[in-house]
């Protein structure tokens, strides 16, 4: 319990900064929505005149694009980007910081098992992410209802919003396994940024090109908002993929961390 509290305190400032950032971004984007909606109406009429296959080639349904949920889904992509960086950063640093900040000699000689250490740190990271998500969801919901042009399904809005948490979980697990496999990580941010942006760009290219295969590689595409909007549910195979990945990554992390030599300096 003491380690959990210690970790929470250690990440407090960073969690606050990330939460405020996410909130700031969504407020910014949603405040643009009203003017966007107006422009879109004009275009929708235009789109009607084009053949179905062409419209399909973009992998989106134009109606949803200009609706609250559709617009939200698009901007939500950037929220997920930042949230993923936060999560990956957390994951990559929680274990490696004991070596990086030379506190390994302190913590790992206390009467606690390495498993307990990992568990406390993971729980603290998880809690930080949960807090971020709760605050974000609250503000986003409020903002959405404030700028809406017409009624929308809150259920869909909610389902889209919590995919932030799902994506973050994946990057958290990814960060942990990466940190456990490295001997010493001197600076966490370059790794997180590079990895997350890499996956993000892969996801962007995939959606423009409409490639199904790439979807499996990049967590940003596990939760296709169009699918959610249409079917009010998630695609089962990706949920399974996510769970499997997280379980494997975390289990492997426990195993490796408990077995490996920790170099104090």
């Amino acid at each position: 319990m003491n380690m959990f509290i210690h970790e929470m305190k250690a990440y407090r400032k960073s969690t606050i900064i990330w939460t405020c950032s996410l909130v700031g971004i969504i407020v910014l984007f949603l405040s643009i929505y009203p003017s966007f909606a107006k422009e879109a109406d004009v275009f929708k009429e235009l789109m009607e005149g084009f053949p179905e296959p062409v419209r399909k080639a973009f992998g989106l349904s134009v109606d949803s694009m200009s609706s609250m949920v559709g617009f939200y889904s698009y901007t939500f992509l950037y929220i997920t980007l930042c949230g993923a960086i936060q999560a990956m950063n957390l994951g990559t640093s929680i274990l490696s910081k004991e070596v990086r900040e030379k506190t390994a000699d302190f913590l790992l000689t206390k009467p606690v098992t390495r498993s307990q250490i990992i568990t406390s740190k993971l729980l603290a990271a998880l809690t930080s992410l949960v807090i971020t998500n709760i605050v974000y969801l609250t503000v986003a919901s409020f903002m959405a209802s404030a700028v809406k042009v017409e009624d929308y399904s809150y259920k869909i809005f909610f389902m889209v919003s919590i995919t932030l948490f799902f994506v973050q979980l994946i990057f958290l697990a990814l960060g942990v396994i990466v940190s456990v496999l490295s001997r010493k990580i001197k600076s966490v941010l370059p790794i997180s940024l590079g990895t997350v942006f890499g996956f993000f760009i892969a996801g962007m290219l995939a959606s423009i090109i409409g490639d199904e295969a790439v979807r499996y590689i990049t967590p940003f595409k596990y939760f296709d908002t169009n699918y959610i909007i249409k079917n009010s549910s998630y695609e089962a195979r990706f949920i399974i993929l996510e769970v499997v990945f997280i379980v494997v990554a975390i289990t492997a992390s426990y195993y490796v961390y408990c077995k490996k030599d920790i170099h104090a300096v």
């Binding site: 010493k184 001197k186 170099h263 300096v265």
Partner: protein, 294 residues
């Protein structure tokens, strides 16, 4: 000639006290000790000399040139061993030493080999893989390989085994004989006692004394311990100059300062079984300074 001249050097970290009005000089060819309790300001003073941090007020010159303004120039002839040694990842010892040498525009390869042999340092090992003490050795070689005129050492022997400490002292004395000036900060009083000619004592950011080691010892009490054959009266040794008189059965011990003939007379007039006379440990002298409120 003074190699180092420090005048009223003050450094404050915001509101926190660093060093206040520190002044002392180090003469050419000296081995100068710099001692004080933890947090007294030894490292702060040294780092200011090396322009790692900048003084709030006051000045310091080395070789007659201001430490900040002429930093790069005077550092050509300075070798520094920090208290904690950190180097770059994935470098072998020899790589780091060569890198260090490349700053001095001298060919140091012979000297590197000599020093490594004396300190028993494996040049081909990766620094990451070395123990703390061995990393210290790298620091020592790194500080000396360019044969500098001024050697500054911050807690140099922490981490070294006694044999290595010995070799290190020998090395320092050799360099000193060749003309190098040495500034040594430590709180291992034994090594200060052994190596240094003069010493400055710093406490809570201020210099409380600058003195020759020999003077410090002279001006202090000698320790006497006498085993008497038969009991003598309690006040026998209670003369002026005696302090801390203790009588335990047949063992009388005290500290004496003054004309030694007086106390010798008193001893010669009684029957004794055994006699011990000791120079005070520098430890005891310094503890006095460490503790005393001036």
């Amino acid at each position: 000639m003074n190699v180092i001249e420090i005048k009223n050097l003050t450094k404050s970290y915001g509101k926190a006290r660093g060093i206040i009005d520190v002044s002392f000089n180090v003469e050419e060819g000296e081995i100068f000790g710099f001692i004080g309790p933890n947090g007294a300001g030894k490292s702060t003073t040294i780092r200011t000399l090396l322009s790692l941090i900048y003084p709030t007020s006051g000045s310091a010159t080395i070789f007659g040139k201001d430490c900040v303004e002429f930093g790069p120039e005077i550092k050509k002839e300075i070798g520094y061993l920090p208290s904690e040694v950190f180097y770059y990842d994935n470098m072998k010892v020899i790589d780091l030493l060569k890198y260090s040498a490349s700053f001095y525009k001298k060919d140091c390869s012979k000297r590197i080999k000599e020093l490594a042999e004396i300190m028993d340092l494996d040049l081909n090992k990766k620094i990451d893989d070395l123990s703390f003490g061995n990393k210290k050795k790298v620091g020592i070689v790194q500080g000396l390989l360019h044969e500098p005129k001024l050697i500054i050492l911050d807690e140099p022997t922490s981490g070294l085994d006694p044999l290595m400490q010995q070799k290190f002292f020998d090395l320092l004395e050799q360099e000193n004989k060749k003309g190098a000036t040495i500034l040594l900060s430590s709180h291992i009083l034994g090594e200060v006692q052994r190596l240094c000619n003069r010493v400055a004592i710093i406490k809570e950011g201020k210099i409380i004394k600058v003195e020759k080691i020999s003077t410090l010892q002279e001006n202090n009490h000698k320790k006497f311990k006498i085993e008497v054959k038969s009991k003598i009266e309690d006040n026998y040794f209670n003369i002026s100059g005696v302090s801390a008189l203790e009588i335990n059965d047949n063992i009388i011990s005290f500290l004496f300062r003054g004309d030694i003939n007086l106390i010798m007379k008193k001893i010669s007039e009684i029957q004794i079984a055994n006699l011990w006379i000791e120079e005070p440990d520098l430890e005891e002298i310094f503890m006095h300074y460490y503790e005393k409120e001036d």
